[in-house]
Assembly symmetry: D2
């Protein structure tokens, strides 16, 4: 099988990070950014363990209107400083087209969350930029609808779309979602999108994140996005599925082994 994937490249302080070029890109960080110290500690921790990109929520989509909704614009100042100090670019979720100008300055990649995959007005707006877009699959989106959502960004003029499989909704209650690795293999065989897998949301159970990370690499995914927190039990959101540095480090060791077996390295 020839790899037809068209890689997406991110420039950050003189460095180029390529996703979809053969190497495995691991994105990690907290569900929500809680403070300057929290972000800095997490960023350093995951960088030391082999991560090439930082994740972290600034505006959170929460099912309940009165749950913690993220720090919002207050966080932009220190986010830029921490990214530069640690040397990792950031991907964060955008939830409203009106956030675009503020966001453009704070992140190196826009994340569109599952709840907004069908928010075509937001996707069109992201098509007017050149920043990469990490497009998560909606809870019950077919692969066909997911590709067509990506087309809204592309037709707007921005070809830098990465798809992210994060589990779909099924009848099975044992796991938070059902990870659909069939779709990852299908997208790799039939489209040119880089594909990232999110085993944190895809399983919702810490003990399953490791096995599913290895499965994602073996099935051909271009990378992983994993929730890590210095002290998982104290996390302000998704505490039940965040990994400690120790747990994350163990997974990274095995990810490297499986990647190497298939002739792949980690993106640095």
């Amino acid at each position: 099988m020839t790899n037809k994937t068209r890689p997406v490249r991110v420039e950050f302080h003189g460095k180029t990070i390529e996703i979809g070029g053969g190497a495995v890109a691991v994105i990690a960080g907290p569900c929500s950014i809680e403070s300057r110290e929290h972000l800095s500690e997490t960023a350093r921790g995951v960088k030391d363990l082999g991560t090439c990109f930082l994740r972290g929520g600034i505006y959170k989509m929460r099912t309940q209107a009165d749950s913690f909704q993220g720090l919002g614009t207050n966080a932009f100042g220190f986010i830029k400083e921490v990214k530069k100090e640690v040397g990792l670019p950031l991907v964060s979720e955008i939830t409203d087209p009106r956030q675009l100008s503020d966001f453009a300055d704070a992140v190196e990649m826009f994340q569109v969350g599952s709840r907004n995959m069908y928010n075509y007005e937001l996707l069109k707006e992201l098509g007017t930029t050149k920043k990469p877009v990490l497009l998560k699959r909606a809870f019950a989106a077919t692969v066909d609808e997911w590709i067509k959502a990506a087309d809204y960004v592309i037709k707007g003029g921005n070809e830098n779309v990465i798809l992210c499989e994060r589990g779909i909704r099924t009848f099975e209650p044992t796991t938070r979602n059902t990870m659909d690795l069939n779709s990852v293999a299908y997208l790799k065989a039939h489209t040119s999108f880089p594909v990232i897998v999110d085993p944190s949301h895809g399983t919702g159970r810490p003990e399953l994140i490791g096995p599913l990370s290895l499965a994602a690499v073996a099935v051909g995914a271009d990378g992983l996005i994993i929730e890590v927190h210095p002290r998982p039990r104290e996390a302000l959101s998704d505490a039940h599925q965040a990994l400690s540095f120790a747990q994350f480090g163990e997974i990274m060791g095995n990810v490297k082994k499986v990647a190497a077996a298939l002739g792949r390295e980690l993106v640095k």
Copy 2:
């Protein structure tokens, strides 16, 4: 069973239309508004057959970026005239918080489509108005998430939320969606929201819209929303599920019979 539903009222040219007060409200009209003549002809047709509210898309959410996306702002002028001439208020889908001020003048009820049920920024914005919001269930939203989405509008200050069941996504390919009337009965028994049923999208097959309309009334729904087109085969969107005036009229006759058997009338 005592009816605990809190009705939503719409004032229109000196008339009050109440949804959730016991009578069955039938909303009908085209998927998309195609022209002044098209809207006028459809509105007169459905009004004569017992409809109390007009539906019609101004901005359409389409899975494919290059499908017909609706007339947009060009239509606002004639829409206001047609509504007044025919004497029917309008519900139409809003897809972007930035459309709010324009829309507020053209519609008597905002529709939030299935694709935007989780678009919390849009819901918060609708909470700042007093206009009723028809909140459609997302393709795979649990009843609990649907209620919590409604809370985003209510916590913004707008209590006028009507829920709309439009079918959920399941493994079954025979029908476009699987109509979940269990959820309608559950919402009527356990919440105070008025609940409307959309058998056009819920089945996607014209021959099933009649039977499911009757089932919806029998299960206790506060109303129906049905796609009608003067010449269904010529419709610019959803042509396969639009009903002709004749088909719609036959359904309305049976809807009245089932409603009457349970001591209910049609909203006029």
Copy 3:
């Protein structure tokens, strides 16, 4: 719509009970037959309220190997006596082709449960008899597979198949299953099978059985099958969804009203 349904007829002590001939057939009784007295009391109670057929489990399919599995062959003797005394035929679930000869003498209709819809060896065996077969839909069977399962009985030589919609498995946790009334309308429009609806299993919540019973009649179902117990809280299986005589009686009153509105009676 012309009714193309081919009715199934059951002869019982000189009386003919027709299912699928236009009138609404209500089948009721306990989940499991618990004793002679229990069966007799339930049968009299439901007959007085308008039931034309008795249901009651002899062999129960239970997910857990150590749950109550039914009285089995011990019950055959008194079952025949009670049926004759009360004047109601019985439908009961068969779970093994080797039970056929014993069963043939004790029931007027075989029920194939959801767990056995794909048990083609059992279906072929039932094709060798002339007794009607009530074929429940499997948890995730498509309508197409369900029809093809019925074909196994028909090709064996027995055309007396009635389909029973009992809810399908979806992502929604609020109700035990999701009742798929779309499929009922589809089967009535496109096949000649009589179709029965089971709102007890289809909802799993007593307060929803009434509304869904009315919806089933309105959508065009040929009948209902409902779990009733003299003292629901003491039931040995499915206690949470059994109705009392009072609850069942109230539903029957409304079922008659909706049926009458559509020109239908109850099967006596």
Copy 4:
């Protein structure tokens, strides 16, 4: 993670094949056994490529009553000869408790197919033997129900149960089923059952069987079961998902690499 799996052992002509003991067991062969020559050719082919167990349908479960249903008892004679000549034991699907005595002599492992996972009478009967049972997950069985189905065999006295994930039924039409590798990781972490994965049925697309085989090994599965045919296009059943020897050989090469990376070998 300590491996708590309790291995299942099969004795065959003086050799012991262990499934669940750490090494990866690959089971392969045709969907249906078509003739002596066909079985012999396939068995030799897959053995040369590293398979430790032969699969092959004798009685086929077919959705349509008039599809090819397998050779049945006619095949028992030559099956025993071929197995001995080639040196591979056989797993084949049993569909009726009455087949047990015949089958016991022809197979080294009973397969219970997805359609019969809830056929508790069959499971109880298999509990009376000591032969291993490969229990496939039903189309929409929860993990909990699947484990409880296995309990029917175990409580009958037979502890040799291997679970087989073969994809579940979801809304996604791109693949025949959705492979649920979350469930495999969950079963490995929380139960002692060996778990096998079937990527042939789990994807239904030949080009995805390789990637999903690697994912299954990486996620921790104890083995694979794959459909192979000397000339896939001529297969009498499941022709669209059978692999050629060349395709199967390529997959086996990669399976060995991923297994080795995680310190595992292939069962010989």
